[in-house]
């Protein structure tokens, strides 16, 4: 069974059709890149998988391990193993990062019928992943994302991913706003999570990130449809030629 199976997915915001029939199958162990020009529907696809309710699914289906993902509420999707790394992580004043991490981890465990993690085990786990992603103790004490730089926010996202150990990682333009050093830290964090039982969908506008997170498949999204799929060499081709060919085709 495929880990993720998207079939003929159609999504609108109000009257506007954003996704016009997406088909995508992701198996365990695979890394897929979704590339495309601005406004092609990349972020919409990410949000719809996570369950953001501003979008209306007007047709098609998403199966996650054979189950209807669209029927699950937002938290249940996370507990089932879907993780969205946000393009713009949200600031939450008054909620300490550490408090949030524990609430998230325990909420997922509870929904999966597992017991709460002990505080020493939790601390050990957080310290280990935080260290890998250069997340300092000081950042962990601060309110979630408040006053974090762009790079700190993205590292915090990947740290959450490492802690929560999802089976499907969806990275929405994680490279945006990162300098080359931060990009490498983030990419190393993602690569460290690669496993035969886990898959990733890397959404990006630029090929740059794919030098560090090497995809097995590349899909080009344009005007709400996947217009071309290929191997990692497709990303290089796009980098050389740009998206003009596809936007022209789609118009």
């Amino acid at each position: 069974m495929a880990l993720l199976e998207i079939k003929d997915l159609q999504v609108s915001i109000g009257e506007r059709e954003i996704l016009k029939g997406i088909d995508l199958t992701v198996n365990e162990g695979e890394t897929h890149a979704i590339m495309g020009p601005n406004g092609s529907g990349k972020s919409t696809l990410a949000y719809v998988m996570a369950g953001k309710d501003d979008y209306e699914v007007t047709g098609g289906s998403i199966l996650f391990r054979g189950e209807d993902l669209l029927a699950m509420d937002i938290a249940a999707r996370a507990a089932a193993g879907v993780f969205l790394a946000f393009q713009y992580p949200i600031e939450i004043p008054g909620v300490a990062t550490m408090t949030f991490l524990k609430a998230a981890l325990n909420a997922q465990r509870k929904q999966r019928g597992e017991g709460e993690i002990s505080t020493p085990d939790f601390m050990r786990k957080v310290r280990e992943v935080a260290k890998r992603l250069n997340v300092t103790d000081e950042m962990l004490r601060r309110p979630l994302n408040v006053g974090f730089s762009g790079g700190e926010k993205k590292r915090n996202e990947i740290m959450q991913m490492a802690l929560l150990e999802p089976s499907l990682c969806v990275l929405d333009e994680t490279d945006s706003g990162l300098d080359i050093d931060a990009l490498r830290v983030v990419a190393d964090g993602v690569n460290a999570l690669k496993s035969p039982t886990r898959a990733a969908i890397v959404i990006t506008h630029y090929q740059r990130l794919l030098n560090y997170i090497v995809p097995d498949f590349v899909h080009v999204l344009s005007a709400g449809k996947i217009v071309r799929s290929g191997g990692k060499e497709l990303a290089l081709e796009l980098e050389a030629k740009g998206y003009a060919e596809f936007t022209g085709k789609a118009a």
Binding site: A75, A78, I90, V95
Partner: protein
């Protein structure tokens, strides 16, 4: 014949008049106090209960909200008072503190830590004893404050005042533990308690105070408590006020505060109880170097009505004032914040800012906010702001996208919202105890679907 501007009296007003006539001779004090009480009651008689056309009570129409006048509370017998104290859950838990205990408005020395306080340098007396002396200091106890001489709630308090505590902290004392003045309402029949407390904090002293109001069951007790506080030069005070009366009670609380130069006073009010509550604070600021912080965390649900009203008067220059009022409104509840900052002509270099924020948790809750600045000096920095809104959808989505279920995500966000005010007090042990009150309130809140 006296002039009678109002002829129609509500049943409650008529009942109060009968009660006053019946009880006047039993109230503590001699002829002098009786004359002061009669004059105060006359002020009430002239205007009746405040209603919505009285600006200060615009959103809290006591004529409509106060449907009955419970009979004045008798002093409970010692064993019953002790039992009530031990049976009611203590929201402050293990917080180490000195405690002075009032039950139904009467001071109980045997339940209080007067001995330990006096050994530490704090004198404690009962207001009843002070009033019975019928002298100059008793007259000062019942005097109406200049800032609100016409306030009817204060007039009713002066008319019926039965007891309370008079606390005096000697100059320079750093009290080693917080001092709690606990007001308990007991018994299965509604009673009305009228309390006058006085707290004098000497120059250079440093104290933490906790003023708590608790009631058991759902008995519709009525309490009118006035606490006069004077803070000496360069003293530092952290003062927390916790109101968690029974959910059918009526709470009228007034704090009359005056601060000397260089005094630092931080006040946190946590409001979760009573069907109808009004907590008012009248503050006379000192001059240069006086620092005042007023923080509020209000939680109302069901059909509760909670009013916080502030009047902060800057007569002298160079003082610093910050107000942060946070209110969570659920169910069909009604929250009110009125804050007025006055800067008189001589109060140059005043720095005063006020912010009121409301979080509306239901479609049917209501919050009214009325911040006012009255500025007569030209070289000042003053400002106010008010916001009200629902839980932020993007924050909720972010938390849920990490697996936190909706009810828990909402809980985290509401808690963060209210805790910001609690942190304002800057006292961690007291703050932690009061955050427990927020947590308990949130755990009772039914999750929305």
């Amino acid at each position: 014949m006296t002039a009678e501007p109002r002829t129609i009296r509500t049943e409650t007003e008529q009942a109060l008049a009968r009660q006053f006539e019946d009880i006047l001779s039993e109230l503590p004090g001699g002829p002098r106090m009786r004359a002061l009480r009669a004059a105060a009651f006359e002020r009430f008689q002239r205007s009746g209960l405040p209603h919505r056309r009285v600006e200060e009570y615009k959103y809290t129409d006591l004529r409509a909200l106060m449907k009955r006048a419970a009979p004045p509370a008798r002093r409970a017998i010692e064993t019953a008072a002790a039992r009530a104290l031990h049976e009611l859950p203590d929201p402050l838990g293990a917080l180490p503190r000195y405690r002075l205990v009032l039950v139904d408005g009467h001071y109980f020395d045997a339940l209080s830590d007067r001995g330990a306080l006096e050994a530490a340098g704090v004198s404690v007396a009962s207001t009843r004893v002070e009033l019975e002396a019928d002298g100059e200091s008793a007259a000062a106890v019942l005097a109406a404050p200049e800032l609100a001489a016409a306030d009817v709630v204060l007039a009713l308090n002066a008319a019926f005042a039965t007891d309370g505590v008079a606390v005096s902290v000697r100059d320079g004392l750093a009290l080693d533990r917080p001092l709690e003045i606990l007001h308990l309402s007991t018994g299965s029949e509604p009673v009305a308690s009228t309390v006058r407390n006085g707290v004098r904090i000497g120059a250079n002293a440093s104290v933490q105070m906790v003023e708590t109001y608790r009631g058991g069951g759902d008995v519709a007790h009525q309490l009118n408590a006035v606490t006069r506080v004077s803070v000496g030069r360069n003293a530092t005070v952290a003062w927390a006020r916790l109101q968690m009366e029974s959910e059918t009670a009526q709470h009228l609380g007034s704090t009359i505060l005056s601060l000397a130069e260089e005094a630092r006073f931080d006040h946190l009010s946590v409001t979760a109880g009573a069907a109808v509550s009004r907590s008012q604070m009248l503050v006379t600021m000192g001059g240069a170097g006086t620092r005042l912080g007023i923080f509020g965390a209000g939680m109302v649900t069901g059909r509760q009505h909670a009013d916080t009203t502030l009047l902060i008067d800057h007569a002298l220059g160079g003082a610093f004032t910050r107000v942060l009022a946070k209110n969570a409104v659920d169910g069909e509840a009604h929250g009110v914040f009125q804050g007025k900052i006055v800067v008189e002509p001589d109060a140059q270099k005043t720095d005063a800012k006020m912010m009121a924020k409301a979080l509306l948790l239901s479609e049917t809750g209501e919050f009214d906010s009325k911040p006012e600045l009255e500025i007569f000096a030209d070289d000042v920095q003053c400002g106010h702001g008010a916001t009200s809104g629902r839980i932020d959808d993007t924050q909720l989505f972010y938390l849920m996208a990490r697996g936190v279920e909706r009810a828990e995500a909402e809980r985290l966000l509401i808690e963060a919202f209210l805790d910001e005010a609690i942190d304002g007090l800057g006292d961690e042990p007291i703050g932690d105890a009061l955050k427990g009150v927020v947590t308990a309130w949130l755990s009772r809140r039914a999750p929305r679907t």
